[in-house]
């Protein structure tokens, strides 16, 4: 599915996308949070970009871990530890490989989700990034098991993530800053779910 070089390219593209959508993500966070999600993510991925050249000779696991570390130490807020942990766990799950296939990706994604749940003490249905990631993972896994076609799987994943983002509009937040709003959080989509969905879309269009 992808090698280290391709991965670096995808990470670069994710960063570009995050920088482009910085204001959009911040705007979403303004409504139900504190208006910094885009700013946080953009700051973090700018730092990641700075490190891309160091990655060229590294294996996939090390690259993902380094991305995670960079995010943890520059994003701050809730999304920093969460995305940071996700990337670090994903890297640990894949290990010192230079190529990864669809199964590797799904294993890494599962580990990432577990990391977020652990760090955030959260689960599906709480109006967080998990509401994009978990349905996406489930859809991808099902599709990949049926067809063994990663491109088809990631398309299903993006579809499910988009639905998940829509779904976050309908529920009350019980984790993160938006939870302080109680019922007032209904009607607004979650910024973290949105950024997670953006990343999956970049992966889809990069393959």
């Amino acid at each position: 599915m992808t090698d280290s070089k391709k991965l670096i390219d995808i990470i670069q593209k994710i960063s570009t996308q995050i920088q482009m959508d910085k204001d959009y993500l911040t705007e979403l966070d303004n409504v139900i949070g504190d208006g910094d999600h885009g700013i946080n993510m953009a700051r973090g991925f700018k730092e990641v970009e700075k490190k891309l050249s160091d990655f060229s000779n590294k294996d996939i696991g090390s690259i993902l871990k380094a991305v995670g570390m960079a995010l943890v130490s520059t994003v701050g807020g809730a999304s920093g530890p969460l995305y940071g942990t996700a990337f670090m766990r994903a890297g640990a799950a894949i290990g010192a490989k230079n190529e990864m296939d669809g199964n590797d990706f799904l294993n890494a994604m599962e580990a990432a989700i577990e990391g977020i749940k652990m760090r955030g003490k959260s689960h599906e249905g709480e109006k967080t990034m998990l509401d994009a990631l978990i349905p996406a993972y489930n859809a991808m896994k099902k599709s990949y098991e049926e067809n063994n076609d990663f491109k088809a799987a990631i398309s299903k994943g993006v579809e499910a993530a988009e639905k998940g983002v829509e779904y976050t509009k309908t529920i009350i937040a019980t984790k993160g800053r938006a939870s302080y709003l109680g019922e007032r959080s209904i009607g607004h989509q979650d910024p973290g779910a949105t950024s997670a969905c953006l990343m999956l879309k970049v992966i889809q269009s990069s393959l």
């Binding site: 946080n40 943890v72 701050g76 920093g80 984790k175 993160g176 939870s179």
Partner: protein, 329 residues
């Protein structure tokens, strides 16, 4: 956005440097980032660390000094600092008595401080923490994030800091800090929004005759919006919620009327005029009052009221000496 600044990327660093240059006898900055520690490390006491996003000045760097904090870690504006910075702070101040972290209850703050504590514990440093959650504007629930930590946090700094200064053990300092958390409640309101420099525009909008009741210190939405009322009516509205949350009757309290950053002191005193009368009428005895900018929200106009229920232990610690840039007792 009208701000005195140079470049959006540098506001936090320049702010911390400007602060350290103003108070070189009190504080110094670590090279690793926007981490402020006492100019002269004091051994033989529990070391206190706090912090959070920038934009709440003088919190938290202004409270570093004798009788209060040993270290404050400043994240980006309204964004929790990162674990590596907090970890550097812990290492710089740790004594053999251990380290107490005072964390405001936000998902991000709690996670980042927890990660830093794990790192420090890996080095064999004894780290405990309290989570402040004094904002009665949001519902407290075990199944959600719980309440926000707001201006009442300053009382934790003051009182736990005074306890630490006596040489008490980490368990003892933790107990006193938790006692303050258990006995302090706060509620705020805003007349105007604030602007995160990197965002370039206000986080929300309020029309000319509107106010937000129950606002958070990052401009998070409160319980509701309504037409502006008189200072007295607003004070009563907030006090009714605070005094409904825990029982203050017959008790002595410390009062904090905290400005959000752009509120003239004149208006805070007008509010205090009513707060004093309200409490006195209810038979709640005012032991000490603090009026000023203690935990701000950049240039928001608004204020919060905090009431800390006191006993003789808390009174003694509240009165103990403090010598920090922003709080002297």
């Amino acid at each position: 956005m009208k701000k005195l600044m140079n470049c959006v990327e540098n506001v936090e660093r320049e702010m911390i440097e400007g602060m350290v240059k103003a108070y070189p006898d009190h504080v110094r900055k670590l090279d690793c980032g926007n981490v402020v520690v006492r100019a002269h490390k004091k051994e033989g006491k529990v070391a206190l660390i706090s912090g959070g996003g920038s934009g709440h000045e003088p919190a938290h760097g202004g409270y570093v000094g004798e009788g209060m904090l040993d270290c404050a870690v400043a994240g980006a504006v309204f964004t929790s600092p990162t674990p590596d910075q907090i970890y550097e702070g812990i290492k710089a101040i740790a004594t053999d008595k251990g380290v107490l972290m005072v964390v405001k209850n936000y998902t991000g703050d709690v996670m980042n401080f927890e990660m830093a504590a794990e790192m420090a514990q890996g080095d064999g440093i004894d780290v405990q923490y309290v989570v402040t959650n004094d904002d009665v504007a949001v519902k407290d629930s075990l199944y959600t994030t719980g309440r926000r930590g707001v201006a009442g946090t300053v009382f934790v700094h003051k009182i736990a800091g005074a306890k630490a200064e006596t040489g008490a053990s980490l368990d003892e300092v933790h107990r006193v800090a938790q006692k303050v958390v258990d006995n302090v409640r706060t509620m705020g309101m805003a007349l105007t929004p604030c602007t995160v420099p990197a965002a370039g525009k206000p986080g929300f909008e309020l029309s000319e005759d509107e106010m937000e009741i129950g606002i958070g210190i990052h401009g998070e939405p409160g319980t509701h919006r309504e037409k502006i009322k008189s200072a007295d009516e607003i004070a009563v509205m907030l006090l009714d919620k605070i005094t409904a949350d825990i029982d203050y009757s017959g008790k002595e309290v410390a009062v904090m009327i905290n400005g959000s950053g752009a509120t003239p002191l004149m208006e805070l005193f007008i509010v205090n005029n009513k707060v004093h009368d309200y409490l006195t009428e209810k038979g709640i005895k005012i032991y000490k009052t603090f009026v000023g900018n203690y935990m701000t929200s950049i240039e928001m106009a608004g204020f919060s009221i905090s009431l800390l229920r006191l006993d003789s232990e808390l009174k003694e610690l509240l009165d103990a000496k403090a010598d920090t840039p922003a709080f002297k007792e």
